[in-house]
């Protein structure tokens, strides 16, 4: 990145984020290094591919969530949206509805559901004046309920192998350090598919600038000609449609549709985002931050399993890490 780009990015706090991103990346790599020495199984082609698969879905949720948090809002419904959509896509695939029951049709409808839910959130926040926390808390409950009503509480099994096979597929590979063959999982490619446009939108487009402006001072943004309503819609639609995309991936990965899946993922997404340097007060956040943050959480999970740690410790470590990372982030910002 040229000097100019660096100082440009710094204008919206992204320069600071690059620095933070680097130290977070350092933390992630240090964890990987330590686990490679401590266990024989961590640094293997199979486990790393597995780790990328495990972290992919939270990463996508976290990136979408970050868009809402930057505007000063919060989206508590992303887990519920993912669960609901996993049910919807399974339901569509197991019925005979013509085009809608084809894989492409079912995915398209699922994503459209995400867009609709996001628009509904923004409607509640913008038009009805509800606090984002309340609005998305309400849909978090309702969506699970609607899903259970539709399925009558049953789980829908997906028999379409072309659909479920995708989650196990890989694309592009290279020889691993131990001579075995490593292939990049499709699920991780999906993260990049989402992250690259998200990065461009957030850092290189005026809409991205507007989201930061709204998070900093929405009245000043409005009086500078920013269409605050439209931008708020944009943020919530991104968050919910990313969550719907995760719902599709989830259905592929576990081969079933069940609206109670992905419970608690909204908090993992928020945690990833916060570890990645996003401020819950708005106007501070990035795409790479939550991306790295989510893989840090996944590594704790993965590493704890390999180390045979009591799984309860994972939660304790995660909590401690959030406090430490956010504390140091605050220190760094003050020094500036």
């Amino acid at each position: 990145m040229s000097d100019q780009n660096v100082s440009n990015a710094r204008r919206n706090g992204a320069g600071l984020n690059i620095l933070l991103g680097l130290t977070l990346l350092g933390l992630l790599l240090a964890m990987w290094l330590a686990l490679s020495f401590e266990t024989t199984t961590f640094w293997s082609a199979v486990n790393i591919a597995n780790l990328l698969r495990q972290g992919a879905m939270i990463a996508i949720l976290a990136i979408g969530e970050t868009f809402v948090i930057i505007t000063g809002g919060i989206d508590l419904s992303v887990g519920a949206v993912a669960g609901f959509v996993s049910m919807m896509v399974a339901w569509l695939l197991t019925h005979d509805l013509g085009l809608a029951s084809s894989i492409a049709g079912a995915i398209a409808i699922s994503l459209a559901i995400g867009v609709f839910i996001g628009a509904f959130h923004a409607f509640g926040v913008v038009q009805m004046g509800l606090p984002p926390f309340i609005m998305t808390l309400a849909t978090m409950y309702s969506l699970r309920g609607i899903g259970l009503l539709i399925t009558n509480g049953a789980t829908i099994s997906i028999t379409n192998d072309a659909f479920t096979g995708f989650s196990r597929a890989s694309f592009l590979g290279f020889p691993w350090t131990d001579g075995s063959w490593f292939e990049i999982p499709m699920l991780f490619w999906m993260v990049l598919l989402v992250a690259v446009p998200a990065y461009i939108l957030l850092n290189q487009s005026r809409w991205g600038r507007y989201l930061f402006a709204i998070g900093s001072n929405s009245e000043a943004a409005r009086l500078s000609g920013v269409n605050v309503k439209a931008m708020t819609y944009l943020a919530y639609i991104i968050s919910a449609s990313f969550a719907a995309f995760v719902g599709v991936l989830l259905a592929m990965r576990i081969g079933i549709g069940n609206p109670t899946q992905a419970e608690g993922w909204e908090l993992q997404a928020i945690a990833s985002s916060v570890i990645g340097g996003t401020s819950l007060f708005g106007a501070l956040g990035s795409v790479h931050g939550p991306l790295i943050g989510s893989f840090i959480l996944t590594t704790i999970n993965n590493g704890a399993n390999l180390l045979n740690l009591n799984p309860f410790w994972q939660r304790i470590i995660t909590g401690a890490l959030i406090i430490i990372v956010v504390y140091f982030d605050g220190l760094r910002r003050k020094k500036r």
């Binding site: 005026r206 900093s216 500078s224 106007a283």
Partner: protein, 506 residues
């Protein structure tokens, strides 16, 4: 450096001056904010501190109130050395400050704010009735026409300022610092405040009075100390000095004329309103021509801000007609106003004008991002050069375009508020209180900016509660009272007294 006052009865009793600062020094990293300042504050005096933005006034206040620790120097309270290292200690001594930007709880009532942290209780529970009555008694006694039960956010900024003062008075301050207290006050409110300050003085309270309005210093204060670039350049008794003298000391050069304004020939009509009305204003008809400054003078709450916000589409007018270059238009949104060529620098830079925790360049470019690239994508090089050009042109003192706006001084923040619209290429500029809380030097710079806009053929609507400013600058001056225009004047064709009378309506 500072001359002792003839001993007042109070200071005679205790012998030593109330507060003495010796070689008070403060550094922030490489910045030397306050340079070995020696100052003496006598008991029961009103001591003004003047200086340009960035001269060290705010730093001095923060040291006196214990917000920042000093780098070196000594502080003596009634002759005894005190550490003065935290706010708690300062309040314990009786040092209080009333800040320019009101720092109170907006969602609480006036009474609750006055008693915040010092609530009256009965059997361990809050005694709301007693607090309400006591607060109302205090407000009435001070001559503030305010209901104690009102929620703070329903008051104007000026009224909130009075509440802050009443709160400090109630806390029994011995040493009270006023930081630009009248910046947002109307004439009446200012008079009420001065009455209060004199009363406090009579009770032996020492007042430190910080203001950019030098005439207030002469009206109110006993002595005045001048800061420049962090150093004390002198202390004078007010009867031994004058405004020109103070200005020369403050900026180290003389300005013959702050209100420098070259006459620009008036051109075609840009905007005309015909009896427009909305929430807070009614039947307002004005005309703005190329090269013209139209001044809107009135008390705070007279409907001026609401009127201009309707011209900018924030709260669209409900009745009447608006003509833009002769054609009737409806201005339904901020974007519609901007598309026509209207720019608005709003009244409150903190609430309406700036994204404080974002960069200077970001704020400057915010209105013009639409033009800084292709489609939604931004041309980053152009973004940077636009910001840098504006920072240079408006002379914003900032470390870089990436520095956060919150790190700038008030005057420089105001330049960002104004500067962000200069790139926009607007035809009609609306400035709502453009020089509030801004020092003399910056004021002159802002007036020069207005002049250059006029020469480019723009028209300006300027709202000000500071009569000398609109009086000297406006080609046409409309006086607002209770949401309507009560009188209109040409350039200086009425006296200050006349205009004031019309605004107050006595």
């Amino acid at each position: 450096m500072s001359m002792p006052l003839p001993a007042s009865p109070n200071s005679a009793a205790s012998g030593a001056p109330l507060l003495v600062l010796r070689k008070l020094d403060k550094r922030f990293g490489a910045t030397h904010a306050l340079k070995a300042v020696d100052l003496t504050f006598e008991e029961g005096e009103i001591h003004a501190i003047v200086g340009e933005n960035g001269a060290g006034k705010s730093t001095l206040i923060k040291l006196l109130t214990g917000v920042y620790p000093r780098s070196s120097g000594e502080v003596f309270w009634r002759g005894e050395r005190v550490p003065l290292v935290n706010p708690h200690e300062a309040i314990g001594l009786g040092i209080n400050a009333v800040h320019q930007e009101v720092v109170l709880c907006r969602h609480l009532s006036v009474a609750s704010n006055i008693f915040l942290g010092d609530e009256m209780t009965r059997a361990g529970l809050l005694n709301h009735k007693a607090m309400l009555d006591e607060a109302q008694r205090l407000l009435d006694e001070l001559g503030f026409d305010l209901p104690a039960g009102a929620v703070l956010s329903s008051l104007t900024i000026g009224q909130q300022q009075l509440v802050a003062t009443a709160r400090a008075e109630r806390r029994g301050a011995k040493f009270l610092i006023f930081d630009e207290p009248t910046a947002y006050l109307t004439r009446q409110e200012t008079a009420a405040l001065f009455k209060l300050i004199r009363r406090l003085k009579a009770n032996g309270v020492t007042i430190v009075y910080i203001s950019h309005r030098l005439e207030e210093v002469f009206e109110l204060c006993d002595r005045v100390s001048i800061l420049r670039d962090g150093a004390l350049v002198g202390t004078r008794r007010v009867e031994e000095t004058n405004e020109a003298d103070l200005i020369a000391l403050m900026i180290n050069r003389t300005i013959d004329q702050i209100y420098l304004k070259d006459k620009v020939p008036l051109g075609a009509t840009i905007l005309e309103t015909e009896a427009i009305g909305g929430k807070g204003f009614h039947d307002v008809s004005i005309r703005v021509r190329e090269g013209e400054i139209v001044g809107l003078y009135g008390l705070i709450g007279a409907g001026r801000s609401e009127f201009v916000l309707s011209l900018f589409g924030r709260f669209p007018a409900a009745s009447g007609k608006i003509f833009w270059k002769g054609a009737e238009v409806a201005i339904r949104s901020e974007r519609a106003a901007m598309a026509l060529g209207v720019a608005l620098a709003p009244e409150s830079r903190r609430d309406q004008g700036l994204c404080l925790n974002l960069g200077v360049g970001f704020n400057i470019n915010l209105p013009i991002y639409r033009r800084l690239g292709l489609g939604p994508l931004i041309n980053l090089a152009k973004e940077a050069s636009c910001a840098d050009k504006q920072i240079r042109d408006v002379q914003i003192k900032t470390a870089s375009r990436a520095a956060l706006v919150s790190s700038l001084s008030g005057g420089n923040q105001q330049k960002v508020v104004i500067g962000k619209w200069l790139n926009h290429g607007a035809k009609l500029f609306i400035f709502d209180e453009p020089t509030v809380g801004v020092d003399v030097g910056t004021k002159a710079e802002i007036y020069r900016l207005l002049g250059s806009l006029l020469r480019q053929g723009a028209g300006i609507i300027m709202i000000s509660s500071y009569l000398p400013e609109v009086y000297e600058l406006a080609d046409t001056l409309h006086v607002f009272r209770r949401g309507g225009i009560v009188a209109s004047h040409g350039f200086k064709d009425a006296s200050h007294e006349t205009i004031l009378t019309e605004a107050i309506g006595v």
